[in-house]
Structures are given as C-alpha cells and as structure tokens.
Symmetry: C2
Subunit: 204 residues, 2 copies
C-alpha cells in the first residue's frame, strides 16, 4: 500500500514545529488543538492596525507576514519580517492589553495558525515545560533586538545591509528592496546605491 503525502496541512506544519522545538508531544497537542485556528490570507491583507486591539498571535506556516509602523509622514518602518516557522504578534496588545504598537500585513499569500490566549494558558497546564520554551523564545527575541539596536547605533547603511543579507539570505531574495530599506532605516534609493557600491567592490 502506498501513502501519498503531497504537502502538509497548515495545522500539521505547526504541530511538527512544536514537536521539534518544544516539549509538547502528539497526545498533548490533541488537547490543545481546539484553542487554535488555521487561516489563509491573501497578499495585501492587513491583520492588525496600530492602535487597535487583538488578543492573538500568529504562527506562520507558509508565506510571509510583516510588522510595521507608520510615521507622521505616512512612511512605513518595518519592525519584523515573519516567514515560515516564525511567530509574530503585538505584545502591547496581546500581553499588556494595550492598543497595538504596530500594524501587521501580508506580503505573500500565507497560511497561518492563530494562537489564542487560551492556547498559551492551556499549553502551560498540559505541558509544564512549555513555559521554559516560551522564556527561551523571549530571551532570543531580546538578543536579536539588542543586536539590531546596536547596528542602528553603530553601523553604516552598508554594514546594516550586509548584516541583513548574512542573517536572512533567503529573505533577501523574496522581499522587495522597498521593504528591506524600511527595515534598515534608509530609503529605497539609498539601498539601491549601497547595492551598486557593493557590486562594484565585489567585481574588482
């Protein structure tokens, strides 16, 4: 007998992730499943708006989401990209019950699992060690943000771009330069020139 498995379902991707990265096992996942929701979003869809409220986070199974803010001039500033197997959500709203600090939109058609508050609470009851994983995730987030702050303080546009390429080589190809520029804190025109300079150096 042959079993065909063409591709994993959205929920299956999430379950696989949990089993690989957290102490939550198959049987435990079954107890948690009812607190989760799977969704598919089209490119351009806005999942959260600055100042709004939400009590869910997202786990991206396929596609690409983004967190960004708008300044007084209407320019976008990217806080975070979330490709497959990344978490994204607004802590201000989900954890502190305050208005959201940023917007979340869909850069590529994406399949996501919606992580409710119920899931977070229940997961810690069902699996005591889940809290440890959670803390690990928080520390890791802080480490990355600290690194980014340091780059914004100390590095030139070129250095920041090279760091981005090094850290997210696959994303560099998927994400438009407009978006990358808004993540690096420069204009798209400047990024274009940075890339031109790098190409020149590299060809020598």
């Amino acid at each position: 007998m042959l079993t065909f498995k063409l591709h994993n379902s959205t929920m299956q991707v999430f379950q696989d992730y949990l089993q690989q990265h957290t102490p939550i096992k198959k049987e435990q996942f079954q107890l948690l499943k009812h607190t989760l929701l799977e969704k598919k979003y089209d490119k351009g869809k806005i999942l959260l708006t600055e100042g709004g409220k939400t009590d869910v986070n997202y786990f991206v199974c396929s596609g690409l989401l983004r967190a960004y803010t708008l300044d007084v001039h209407g320019k976008e500033h990217t806080i975070q990209f979330a490709p497959e197997n990344w978490w994204i959500g607004d802590r201000n709203s989900t954890y502190f019950n305050e208005p959201a600090a940023f917007n979340i939109d869909v850069l590529e058609e994406s399949e996501v699992v919606i992580i409710t508050k119920d899931f977070m609470e229940l997961a810690q009851h069902v699996c005591l060690d889940f809290a440890k994983y959670n803390i690990h995730l928080l520390h890791n987030t802080i480490r990355h943000m600290q690194r980014r702050i340091n780059l914004l303080l100390a590095a030139t546009a070129e250095e920041r771009y090279l760091d981005f390429v090094h850290l997210y080589p696959k994303l560099t190809l998927r994400i438009s330069q407009i978006m990358i520029a808004s993540y690096l804190g420069i204009t798209p025109e400047s990024l274009s020139r940075v890339r031109k300079e790098l190409a020149k150096k590299h060809s020598k």
Copy 2:
C-alpha cells in the same frame, strides 16, 4: 523606644523591591539570600567586557550602571542605563552561555546586588509565581526595545532626544550629554545643537 533607620542596606533595598514587585515574601527571601552577593563599586569600574564571560546579572540599589558596545573606531554606543531599581546584565552570556555582547561599567559610585544563576533557579522553586514576574519583565524589556528600534528607524535626533527626556526625566540631569548622545545614536556636538534649537523654540 525609638528606632533609628538612617538608610537601608543594599540587600534591604533589593528585598523591598522583590516584595513590592514580585510574589516573593519575607520568609522566602531568607531562603534565597545565600545565593546573593552585595557589592559597592567606584565610578569608572568595568564589571563586564565584550567577549568575556559571566553568569551573573546585577540589580542596582543605588548609583548608575551602563551597558555599551565599542565600534571599530573605538566609539561607545550605549545600550542601556541602569539607575536604582533596575536590572542589568548580558543575556548572551548569562542565559545563552556565549561571549558577552557588550560592556558594563559604573557611571556613578553604585551599590548593587549580584544575581547568580542559583538565585534565578532557586527563586522559581521557592516561589512558583516568580517565573510569572520574570516573564513580565522580559515582555516589558521587549516592548521598550521595540519602541527604541522604531524611534531609531523613524524619528529625527530631536524627536529621539525629546522621547528620552520624557521617558527618563530624572536621568537627563544625572547623565552627561556625551552618554545621552551615545544612547541616541548621535554625536555630543549634535546633541548640543539639538538642545540649542529646542531652547530657541521654547523661548518663543
């Protein structure tokens, strides 16, 4: 009978803080005390060096510490200030067992409590809810860092300075402009001019 209490001991300040902000109570603190160390450091003392290793964090009871990095030109970039009742430490080293990402030095003569790994572990056994406080602290750190990243991406030097003054009004007076500039990501000269402009606007 009169009781004189001229000033709190370093350890007492820390105990008071825990009792106010965490679920750790008097009796529980007694069980934890032996994992803590109190120290007094002179201005200029360097507690941690980039690339080094440490397994302790600090709680500042009095004085002022600072976390900073050095770039290739030898310039300092301030990651964080830690005045009284703040925590400071290098996660890369204490949590991830990797080389420290930054330096920590003493800006004012300071009394600190040294928080060992033993304390963190024991505290969670002695008081189950301490973990929740810890998570709260992590979320809060992330919130602040996200805000800072957004300011570095979106705001002018003047806006960043105003935000700093608003967020840390007391620190503004205690910290030299050289240090504030290195926190904002500008030169001391630029900060001086920003302040001049603000004074001009304000006097109109």
